[in-house]
Symmetry: C2
Subunit: 325 residues, 2 copies
Amino acid sequence: MNTTDRQRLFIQDVAVRDGFQIEPRFVPTEQKIALIDRLGRCGLAKIEVTSFSSPKAIPMLADAEVVMRGIARIEGVEYAALVPNLRGCERALACNVDEINLVMSASESHNRANLGMSCEDSLRQFAKILPLAHGATAINASLSTAFGCPFEGSVPAGRVMDLIARLTDMGIARVSLCDTTGMANPAQVEDIFGSVLRMWPTLQVTAHFHNTRGMGLANAVAALNAGVRHFDASLGGLGGCPFAPGATGNVCTEDLVHMFDSMGWNTGVDLTELLEVAAALPIIVGHDVPGQVLKAGPWTRRHALPPTQGSPAMSPSNVCAGVRA
Amino acid sequence: MNTTDRQRLFIQDVAVRDGFQIEPRFVPTEQKIALIDRLGRCGLAKIEVTSFSSPKAIPMLADAEVVMRGIARIEGVEYAALVPNLRGCERALACNVDEINLVMSASESHNRANLGMSCEDSLRQFAKILPLAHGATAINASLSTAFGCPFEGSVPAGRVMDLIARLTDMGIARVSLCDTTGMANPAQVEDIFGSVLRMWPTLQVTAHFHNTRGMGLANAVAALNAGVRHFDASLGGLGGCPFAPGATGNVCTEDLVHMFDSMGWNTGVDLTELLEVAAALPIIVGHDVPGQVLKAGPWTRRHALPPTQGSPAMSPSNVCAGVRA
C-alpha cells in the first residue's frame, strides 16, 4: 500500500464497533476476532476494533481486551478503538492500539443524550486523556452530528470549524466529521470539507456517513470532490440510528469500495475478498444487511444472453420484463 | 413552475410504466389513474404514464388507452408514453400524449435481447415513426445501457456520442441516457454528460439511473454537476433489473426530490405530498419498496430528546445504543 499514490483512498471499517454495538444478539468473541482478521486481510487501511467502554454500558463490547489482544496485527492495517474516558484510554494503551478514537458531538443536546455531559466537559475530558495518549498512539477525534442534529436540526458550519480549531489546538492531528443520523447532503458535505481542508491542509480528515436517507454514497463522492481521502464505512452497511427504525445504517464498506473502484480510485482493498467476508455477515448477526453490491454483484458482472425469441422486428419481444429503459 | 429559474430541476416519475411493467400482479386501471393523478398534483414536471406496446408483450400495460384518456391532465405536467413501434405511435397520438418516448439500447446485444432487433433496425424504425409524430407531440429518445451492458460490459462513450448524433440528425431534441442495470459510476456519469452537453448545448438531456449497486443518487449528483437538469425516477424506487434479483430498482423519486431539496434546488415537487403518495404504493403493489426517506423521514425531521439519564460525566450513558459516531 503506497501512501504517496495520488489516487489512493483509505477506508476504515467500523462494523465490529459502530455496527455491532446496536446489535441485539451478542456476537461471540472468537467470531469477532475471526471477522476482524478476515477484514484485515482484505487490505483495509484501518479497522475500528472495539470500544473501551464500561461493559455495563455496552455489553456487546465487554470483551474489548480479549478481542484487541486476540486479533492478528496485519502489517499496514491500523487497529483503532473508541475511548470514552481516561480509564478507557488506559485500557486501550495496555492493549497497544494503533489509534484511540475520542468522540463528542457538534451539537450540545446530542452530546448530552449520547455521552451524558456538555460539549465543554467533553473537551475537558479530551484534554485529560491527551497527555496519557500522546506519543503512545495516534489520536483521532470524531465529531458526531457535524452535519445536523436529530434534536436541534441544523448545526452551523461555523460551530464545526470552531470545534476543529479547539481540537487541533490541543494537538489532535486526525478529525472525523460524522453524519450520525444521515442528515447531510452532498452540497453541504462538499462545502464543509472544502472549508476544513483549506483551513487545515495537513489535518487527516475522515468522512463518516450514514445512509439513512439514501445519500451515503453521494455524500462520499462530494467529500472526495472536496479532497477527503479517508472514509469510514461499515461492512454490509451494519449500524444505524436508533431514531430512525427501518432506516439503513452506516455507509456500506463493500458498496463504497465498489464505487471508488469503478471510478478508478485505489482503495487498497480486494473487493472480491471483501464481498466474501460480507456474505458471511448475515449469519454472524442473524439478519439481512442493507449492502447492495453483494445482492447485485459488482458492475463488472456479466450475464448470459437470454434465449433468442423468434419475434418480428417491429414489436417488443421481452415478454417477461417489458421494455427496459 | 417557472422554467427560467436557474435552480429549477425537472423530475419525471416513471413508476407507473417502468416500475409497474415488471410487477407480477396486475394493478387495476382505476388505481393506475388515481396514482397518476395524485403524482400530477405533487408538482412533477413529467409522468411516464404507460407504454403503447402489444398487450400480449406487456399485459400490465394493456390498458394504455383507458389510462391515458382517464387521467386528469394537470397544467404544467407533461404526460409521456413509451412507443415501441409505428402502431404504438398511432395509438399514443390518438390519446394526445405530450411526449412519445422511443427506446433503443446503446449496446447491440441488449437491443436484440430487449427489442428483438439490431440497433440499426431500431434507428430505421425511429425514422419511420418521426414523420408521424413531428409537430403532433414532443419526441424523446431513450438510450438504454448507455453506461454499460449486462451482456457486453463496457459501452464506449464514443458509441453513445455517435448514437446521439444520429438521433439529433433525425431532428430529435430530447435524449435520455439510461443506466439500465445500474452499472454507471459518478466519474463516468459526469464525464459522459459533460461531453454530451458541450457537444449539444440545446439538447434536452435526461439522466435515468437505477440504484442497483447503491450509486443512484451519487450518479444523479454527478449528472447535476455536469449540467443535467432533467431526471427520471420511480416512486418508491419501483422497477428494477431482471438480471439482479434482490437488487433495488430505479432511483427513488421521493429520495431524489428529498436530496435535491436539501441541496437547495427547486424541483417544483411538494415533498410532503409526494411522501404521502409513496406511502400508499406498497398497498398498491403488494410488497415493500426500497425508498428510504419514507422510512427515515426527511432530514428536517426532529426527534424528542431521550429521557435524561443520571449518569456521571466521565462514563458513556447511552446504555441501549452505545456511543454514536
